[in-house]
Symmetry: C2
Subunit: 188 residues, 2 copies
């Protein structure tokens, strides 16, 4: 794995991407023993409707804390996907919500499409766990942090009342990642 | 006011400083029309027991998103105060919890001491609003964001059930700031 990994979690306000970024950074920085920085930017850009939460994970001290080129891009809306795809590394991967991102950009990157929000609603009766399912998918696909670390970070950061549902949502994300990988193998 | 302002909110995990940082950044970036970046770092340092949430607010594009020298330092624990005081600008101000920070560093900076956590417990029966009272004090003392903006940001970011108590906590913070300023004038 690269010494410095940059993750961009993008969508719109209210999709829980700030919390997802914090959880990912804590998983890396507190439970996996790496360095991690999590950032939100607000300004003219954020007011445009696409919001993002950034995480940089490194084995060493992080000099520049913001994402320069993403290695992993999560896109939960079309607007966010269109905006941040330009910033995806050539060998970076795109994880997108297939219901909300209907026009997938024609880039040569690896793409993993799944109806994440819809699945959250169907399986758990609420879209609120979309962010945690997404984290499960990302970690399952990439191993950017260990599964143990992300489990601990999720448990420690979500409200006590919502702990069980979020833990299940994370496991579902791992499971979806497995299926997406299997599908990818088949199509080769 | 300076074109770039750097704020460091420090204490220990569980004191709600990440949320406070996010609220402050949203107040500046969404409601006051400025640029704002909010950052958390995790690594060996965070594992040492002192945690911090950083906010940079600027009238222009923010080149470097992390705090270099704080203009405002909030310290809610002795450990955090001892650690981050070194990074306070010469003309920067320190806001510290006077119950928890008993050994105030001998620096020439303006210092505002108040038993914030104790007041939260006494007035609201919970320490959970310490972060919001602190924001009220900071904004009341410095005007780093407008009172209107921070009110909107608090209302939009805290859980619906806790909205009223947090709005009251913010107003109490403004009030404490007024008293701290009056006390300062008297002592001159």
């Amino acid at each position: 794995m690269k010494a410095r990994l940059e993750i961009c979690l993008s969508g719109s306000g209210g999709q829980g991407l700030i919390l997802a970024g914090i959880i990912l950074a804590e998983a890396a920085g507190i439970y996996d023993g790496k360095e991690a920085i999590q950032t939100q930017s607000y300004g003219p850009e954020a007011r445009g409707g696409a919001s993002r939460s950034e995480v940089v994970i490194s084995n060493d001290t992080i000099d520049y804390p913001k994402v320069i080129k993403s290695d992993i891009l999560l896109a939960l809306t079309q607007t966010a996907c269109d905006k941040y795809i330009k910033n995806l590394n050539q060998d970076g991967i795109l994880v997108a919500d297939s219901t909300l991102v209907t026009e997938v950009p024609t880039v040569s990157n690896k793409k993993y499409l799944f109806p994440i929000t819809e699945t959250a609603q169907k399986k758990f009766g609420t879209k609120l766990v979309t962010n945690i399912i997404s984290l499960g998918i990302i970690v399952g696909l990439t191993g950017v942090v260990s599964q143990e670390a992300i489990k601990k970070a999720v448990s420690s950061k979500v409200p006590v009342k919502a702990k069980e549902i979020n833990e299940k949502a994370l496991l579902l994300g791992f499971d979806i990642a497995k299926k997406l990988k299997a599908k990818e193998k088949e199509s080769k």
